[in-house]
């Protein structure tokens, strides 16, 4: 358990954040320049906050009042940087073993072999760093950070410098690591899909402040607070289980508490758990069950809430089973349908509009 309560001023920029992260993957999510990197650097010990405290599993790593500041190396955290930061004068193997040079405790060689295998680094070991591709670099950086068996893994936008195919490749490696290593992680990102795929909890950061934190579904859906709208496009995030896959059409059926969704994609397996993001502006509402439409997902639900957003928009929350789906419609559409809370409506969602 990591608990952070810090305050720091960087010129005109002011970071003031308090949050806690449990086991599993916690995402620090926010736009670039929101202070995420500063926060993770404070956790790593590379940056010293002006005031506050940082604790990990009951151990105080930083306390301004008591003058405690544990050196980065002594925190036993692994850190994967956005740009890899591999040592250019060392080859891949030496980079991987770097942390072991300074370790007092013994690290089992089986751990090293497992890591090299998990990250497919075997063929790269003798290569020099200058000859690696972007994706290979990040794999080595991951291995290097994990080699000394850290207590916590910090990742600062590790995929941001990669092109799309490489990004998906490393994302798969991260999912494997998440499954294989029982290691808490702090994952800094501004990409919604990375958070949806990896994170168990999310801390939403904007302008150096924590806007919301908690379960991914709740925070990323912007459900309870609506604060998410300031940072990213809101909607709903639903967790479901893959029920069936139709490879010929390239579609998957996902069941969740309240129904079924059809979405595009077949690069996952039956019984996989995944999160689906439904953008509010992609959801249309109908008072009757429509027929002869191309829309693949028609979910019956009850209007929970209507919230005006400015002069023109209304955000309608529709309860489908235990899940809230959000639809952003115009004020005129609301008037024409005479929508009120408590009414039964059908939410229409195109399969191609679903992100995962």
């Amino acid at each position: 358990m990591l608990s952070v309560n810090v305050e720091h001023r960087l010129g005109a920029f002011h970071v003031k954040a308090q949050f806690e992260c449990g086991g599993g993957v916690s995402a620090l999510f926010g736009r670039s320049g929101s202070g995420k990197t500063s926060l993770i650097n404070m956790i790593a010990g590379l940056m010293k906050p002006e005031s506050g405290s940082i604790r990990f599993n009951g151990e105080t790593l930083f306390d301004a009042k008591r003058g405690i500041h544990v050196a980065p190396g002594a925190r036993q955290f692994g850190y994967v940087f956005q740009e890899g930061r591999l040592f250019p004068h060392l080859n891949v193997q030496q980079n991987l073993e770097y942390a072991l040079w300074f370790q007092k405790r013994k690290v089992q060689s089986s751990h090293q072999n497992t890591l090299i295998e998990l990250l497919d680094l075997g063929l790269l070991l003798k290569r020099r760093v200058g000859h690696l591709s972007g994706g290979e670099r990040q794999r080595v950086a991951l291995g290097r950070a994990l080699m000394a068996q850290p207590r916590l893994l910090l990742l600062d936008e590790p995929l941001a410098a990669l092109d799309e195919p490489k990004r998906l490749e490393i994302l798969r490696y991260l999912q494997t690591l998440r499954k294989e290593m029982k290691l808490p992680m702090i994952y800094v990102s501004h990409a919604v899909d990375e958070v949806l795929r990896l994170a168990d909890q999310v801390v939403l950061i904007s302008a150096g402040q924590v806007l919301a934190s908690g379960e991914v579904e709740a925070v990323m859906g912007g459900a309870l607070t609506g604060l998410g709208e300031k940072v990213f496009e809101g909607g709903a995030v639903i967790q479901g289980v893959v029920q069936a896959i139709d490879p010929s059409d390239g579609l998957a059926t996902v069941t969740f508490d309240g129904g079924q969704l059809t979405l595009v994609g077949h690069n996952f397996c039956v019984a996989d758990t995944l999160r689906v993001r439904i953008r509010a502006r992609e959801v249309a509402l109908s008072l009757t069950q429509p027929e002869n439409v191309s829309i693949q997902n028609i979910l019956q639900g009850r209007i929970e809430r209507l919230e005006h957003q400015g002069q023109t928009h209304v955000l309608v929350s529709v309860a489908v089973g235990t899940v809230l789906i959000r639809s952003r419609i115009t004020v005129r559409a609301m008037r024409q349908l005479q929508l009120q809370s408590g009414m039964t409506v059908f939410a229409l969602i195109k399969a191609v509009s679903l992100d995962r």
């Binding site: 790593a44 010990g45 590379l46 050196a71 980065p72 190396g73 002594a74 036993q76 955290f77 692994g78 850190y79 940087f81 740009e83 930061r85 591999l86 040592f87 250019p88 004068h89 770097y98 942390a99 040079w101 300074f102 370790q103 020099r128 760093v129 200058g130 000859h131 290097r144 950070a145 000394a148 910090l154």
Partner: protein, 235 residues
């Protein structure tokens, strides 16, 4: 081909230049690191002071050394009283003069290479458990190596050619302080010895050129290492 006397002069010159570099290397590295990394009041003053030998007349530097290290000088007196060391009019004194004169060149080269190191790599090393010394020896020093070699070779070559400060501080004593340039100068004063002086000029050129060429080989190899490429094969 090369006379015994000429060999002796070359040997003495290499000996003086070698000791000169040994003296200035630790100090040069320290000063270069401070100037590259630290911000402190009086930094520009230190910077200017380090560069003084580059612009002062060498005679002035030689005279200053005589005042400080001479047997009546503050440091010279102390060295003799406590350690029995005398540097004035000795080859060790010639090395000190060369060290002072070549110091700015050494510091410049090292400072530039330390400044060009990506400090984020040092931060990465810290998160992997390296302490201050660990970071210095496993990241900073290896990455600064091309600049350090350049600095050492420049200082070495500059020492081989040192004349003004040396002749003022330790005089021109054959077999003790008479290095290549001083020997050439002496021969020039003797009527009919121009051919011998010319031979020494050629030798001086060869020695300096060899030093620079060796350093080029070392530096380009070290640079390729620092860029993370193979030292042998280039892609």
């Amino acid at each position: 081909m090369i006379t015994e006397q000429e060999w002796a002069i070359i040997q003495l010159s290499l000996q003086v230049a070698g000791l000169s570099v040994l003296i200035s290397l630790p100090a040069g590295l320290f000063v270069a690191y401070c100037l590259a990394r630290w911000e402190f009041t009086g930094k520009s003053f230190i910077d200017a002071f380090v560069h003084l030998p580059l612009v002062l007349p060498p005679v002035v530097v030689g005279y200053a050394l005589l005042v400080v290290f001479g047997q009546q000088g503050v440091l010279g007196h102390w060295l003799e009283a406590h350690w029995g060391w005398v540097v004035a009019f000795r080859w060790t004194g010639a090395a000190i003069a060369s060290a002072v004169m070549s110091f700015p060149l050494m510091v410049r080269a090292m400072r530039l290479s330390i400044e060009s190191i990506d400090q984020r790599l040092e931060a990465a090393a810290k998160t992997l458990g390296a302490g201050v010394l660990g970071v210095w020896f496993t990241v900073t020093l290896p990455l600064a190596l091309p600049g350090i070699i350049t600095g050492v070779v420049l200082a070495f070559a500059r020492s081989l050619g040192e004349f003004g400060a040396t002749i003022t501080f330790v005089s021109n004593i054959p077999g003790e302080t008479q290095t290549l340039p001083l020997a050439i100068y002496s021969l020039w004063q003797v009527p009919g010895a121009e051919p011998a002086a010319f031979r020494l000029c050629i030798l001086s050129l060869l020695v300096s050129f060899a030093a620079l060429w060796f350093s080029q080989v070392f530096v380009s190899q070290a640079q390729r290492r620092v860029r993370g490429q193979d030292a042998i094969s280039e892609r």
